[in-house]
Structures are given as structure tokens and as C-alpha cells.
Symmetry: C2
Subunit: 355 residues, 2 copies
Amino acid sequence: MTEISKLGEFGLIEHLTKDIKIKNESTKYGVGDDCAVLHYPHSEVLITTDMLMEGVHFDLTYIDMQHLGYKSAMVNISDIFAMNGTPRQMVVSLALSKRFSIEDVEQFYSGLRMACDKWGVDVVGGDTTSSYTGLAISITCIGEAEKDKIVYRNGAKETDLICVSGDLGAAYMGLQLLEREKSVYYQQVNEARKKDDKRALEELAHFQPDFAGKEYLLQRQLQPEARGDILAKLRENNIRPTAMMDISDGLSSELMHICKQSNCGCRIYEKNIPIDYQTAVMAEELNMNVTTCALNGGEDYELLFTVPIGDHEKIEAMDGVKLIGHITRPELGQMLVTFDNNEFELKAQGWNPLR
Amino acid sequence: MTEISKLGEFGLIEHLTKDIKIKNESTKYGVGDDCAVLHYPHSEVLITTDMLMEGVHFDLTYIDMQHLGYKSAMVNISDIFAMNGTPRQMVVSLALSKRFSIEDVEQFYSGLRMACDKWGVDVVGGDTTSSYTGLAISITCIGEAEKDKIVYRNGAKETDLICVSGDLGAAYMGLQLLEREKSVYYQQVNEARKKDDKRALEELAHFQPDFAGKEYLLQRQLQPEARGDILAKLRENNIRPTAMMDISDGLSSELMHICKQSNCGCRIYEKNIPIDYQTAVMAEELNMNVTTCALNGGEDYELLFTVPIGDHEKIEAMDGVKLIGHITRPELGQMLVTFDNNEFELKAQGWNPLR
């Protein structure tokens, strides 16, 4: 018997799907991008799906049901944007153990619908069932796109510019912050128990985690936003990305997907990677390298895309988009140029659910 | 806090979706049928989704991974047929705990693809992730249909004839059989342990459950078939159902969905409910009422549909379809007429209409 971790998520998917032959005219593009693409006369339909398991993808001691609903919907909407599509419909399946109440499910749905309302998405169906073991969430989002406007991962060309929206690493720092406060809490509880200090234990019932000055990190972790606004700006400026995806597993890992599928190399510059002030402060507090966090942190849900070099000035003039490097010939590899002008090969150390 | 069991599955769905307003032109029909219907110029797209949790929906001591893959795909394909659509694509998400190997996942996929190949369905994507607690499966199936050929649950009219394909209750009897053999096995193991009978324990390692003469029941439980063949026959005979759904929760429950959504009553005849010989024998062995099993057993994945009374002769002449009753005015209720001409009101699940 072979352990699944041997192949990892992408290896496993490749292994399972390598000899799938497409049978239907309406199936245009199968496994291997943010969405599958279905072709109908006069419209292309995009489909993406995500499965989130309690304990693996979320921890209900950190996130409440409403934020969880919001985030679950938003990360699927983000996959539709990542193909330059417009999200339209969503089907939602929940499996719930007995500890969840109707109020919990209502909270989840209210968050989910807040995210859907933001982008005009209809909830059209789903499945609600029971589970013996915590909460499982499966969401499928359906979008629409004009045929010649869909952006795949495989369209990057030599000399194209590499761009990212927003800033990176903050969601990961938010998670570190939540984990730190949780461990501070348990440490204090354990100490009070050891000393049998009843008063301290009582006070700990009202423990307030210290998030002052780090609100942005929490927001990025608990309430990510899909960047449909960036797509609108690109359209306004007549910029059409040659390749695009959303950053869910970390910049490094996603960039390597684009390079692999576009058969090219890349060169990005550490000094250009957009990092928020709070992210930098938190990384220093935790004695972590902030660039590593931005490269491998994941859950940013920002857009990573490439544009023709001719769009250089337009991109420079755009708010909320940063030019971080360029596409090269494949034999030049996937390189990070550091502040001190050293070069390192990028490694995908992104979050691996099957590790 | 309110327990979810208070509302039940359908109550919960209704509660959560009652004030959803549809925002997109392409959303034609949302929650409340076998599939959601999306409208695109020149084609309607059907979407259905199902979530299956280990321990709740399946027990891996009864079913192997290949059959599980086959069944998971087939029940989703069945939902597309239930709207008179053609299944086209499927997205598959799996969450796996560490006890599963790559070979297990391969087995699952081989079964899944067998089912998909049977009906020309393309596997176009999905998600593979980890779980702390067993196996979770989420499948979304996408189908196509011509606008005026989609059959909803709400089109049944007074005097329409009620029909079912195949026979009912066998899948439920198959489950009873599997459970019986499992308990026989554990009983023998416990006895041998009590007596410290090492030889008996060794022999029990090669325990062969007794399924002789009951192969059909097992097949119905482990390898259900979606009834696309019945749709083809109906088309050949120029019969267009007025309402239709597939029988996953039991005839009684499904018939009540059709009556509620079509605002009508119904009258079905016990003597007409199609039951296989093996189902009847097994019910007798277990001292169960076979009609109750057929009404409430579930997992048959046969088609339940209504046709105009003018199609009476055509239906009578069709193989594999049985006429079991007719649609009435709503005030006449949903009635079962027994062998001895007594009338009982149908109740969904759990309730025994025959004492």
C-alpha cells in the first residue's frame, strides 16, 4: 500500500486524471486550472469546487461560523475571478455533527450569503447532511465568461511582466497570531491549575486575546476578499492578462504552476514583493523571515497574473497592483533575486493538505 | 440553541433558503428540485450535488472503494436523469484520513469512472484533501437539457398516472442482509472468544457471509444503476412525464414531494408496487412488511414520474415501468390502497402505513 503523502495533492490529482479522455463536446478544459471550462453556444461556463474539513482547513476555536461561511464562499468566488470569469451561482453542501445547532448553520449561511451578495452570486442548491465527526463543507461555484476572455494558467510568454494584487503574507501572519494567543491562553490556564489558583482560573474565563495593532492580519485570515475589483480595473485599462491564478497556497507554489503550464521560467525580485507594515512587524516579533512568509504563507487570495511587456506603464500607474518580476526562457529556471542581489531557486513550500 | 433534528433535512433547507432572491438572469430555478437549472442562450444547464460521509452514508465494512466510487457517481447521474437531462460533467472532491492509500483512491476512481463512462460523463475537476476522521466525498454533476424538455417536480396534474421504473425495496433489503451477516460474524467471534476457542477464531478469519440466492439484493445496494435507459424509452414512445424525480429516500417520501410541489393528492395501490421475488423472500425472513420496505426503504434510484392519462396504453405496453396509481385533487390526500382495499394516508419515512 502506498501512502498518499508520497504523491502529494497535485501528484495525486495528476496520477488519477492522466488518462481521462474527454467525451463531450461541451467539455472544453478539464483538470489542471482554477476552474473547469464548459462550452455552450454563446457562453462558456466555469466550474470550481472546494472541500473544507474541520481540523484540517479551519479551527473553530479561531473562526466563528459566520466568518467561516464568508470565507468558504469567497475562496470559491476567487477561483472564478482567477480565470477572468464572473461568478454566478453556488451550490453548498454541509455535513454537521450533533454539536452544531440550527443557529450555527444560520450563522454560516448569513456569512456565505454576505459574500455571495457582494458579488451577485445566487445560492441555487446543495445538500445538508449529518457527520459523526465535526464539520465538512463542500462548495461548488459556477461562473460565466466570454470565450476569448478566459485566462488560463498556460498563457505566460517570455518577457511578460509578473504582477500581484494587494499584499502577501498577512493571512498567514493572522493565523500565527491566532495560534500564539491560543497557546498563551492554555499556558496561563495550565499554570493556574498547577498552583490551584481558582481566582486566576475565573479571570481566564474572560481571557481577551491581544490583537491590538494587528487587526489587518486578523481580517486577512478570517475575512479574505476575492479580487473582482482588480479584474474590473484591468478591463477599464484594456489590459488582458496572458496567464492568471489566485494565490491560495502561496506565491511561490502558484508561480511554479504558471511556469510549468506555460513552459517558461521566471525572475521575481524580493524588493518588489508587496508586504503590509503589520505583516512585517508580526514576522519580526515571531522571528520569521517576512519574505518566506509572503512566498509560502498562502490564503492571500490575491491575483497573480502576467501581462505583455507593452502594458508596463499602464500597470505602473494602477493602484493595488505590483509588478514583481518577469517571465523568462524555461532554461533560466524560477528565480528569486534577493535584496542583496543573490539569486535563489524558488521552491514550492506552500501549504500541502496531504503532507 | 436549537437542535438540527427539530427541523430535519428538508425543513432546514427550506428555513435557510426561504428568503433567497435570485440575482442572475442565468439562474432559472434554485433550491427545491433534484437539480438547479441554469439558463444560457440555446441551452439549459443542470447542476446537482451530493455529500457522502463515512459512517453516515456508507460503511466501508460493507462496501469496497470501487463500488463506493461507482455508487457515488451513479446517484448524482441519477439526479440529472430525474430532470430529464443528459449528464455531461462531474467534479469530485475527496477528503481522506491517513488510513487510506493511493491504491484505495485508485479503486474509488476506477469505480467512479466506470459509472461515468457508462453515461458518457467527463470528470473535469475536483479537490483532494485530508481529513482527520475517515472519508468524505462530495460530487457535483452537471447536465444539459433542452428548455422545454426539463421535467420538474411540480408539473403533476389531476388524473395523471403515477409510474415507477424497475422494482422497489431491494436496495434496502440488501443493506439488511449486509448488516445481518456482519452481526452473525461478530456473534461467532464473541462466542469463540468466550470459550477461548483458538481454532474457531482462526476459521472465522476466513468467514464467508452467506449471500446465496440474494445476489440481486446486494447488487441493488452496492451497484445501483441510474435509469437513463427508461428516459430513452419514454422518448421513443413519445411520452413526456409531467413531473419526475428519482427515488433516493423511498417512494412514500418522494411521492409526497411531488404532491406538495404540484399541489395535488395521489392514490397508489399496494398491489401495483413492483417488488422483486428476492426482496419479498428476504422481507419474510426478517419478518418485515415488504410494502413498508418498498415505500420507505430508499436507495432504489428508480424513476418516479407522472404522465397524462392519455398515455395509459403506451405505458402499459412498456417493459420496466409499472403504473402504480394516479394523481387526485389535493383535498383527497396522499393515499395508499392496500390489498384488502383499506386506505391509509402515506407518511414520509419511519411510519408504518400498515400498522
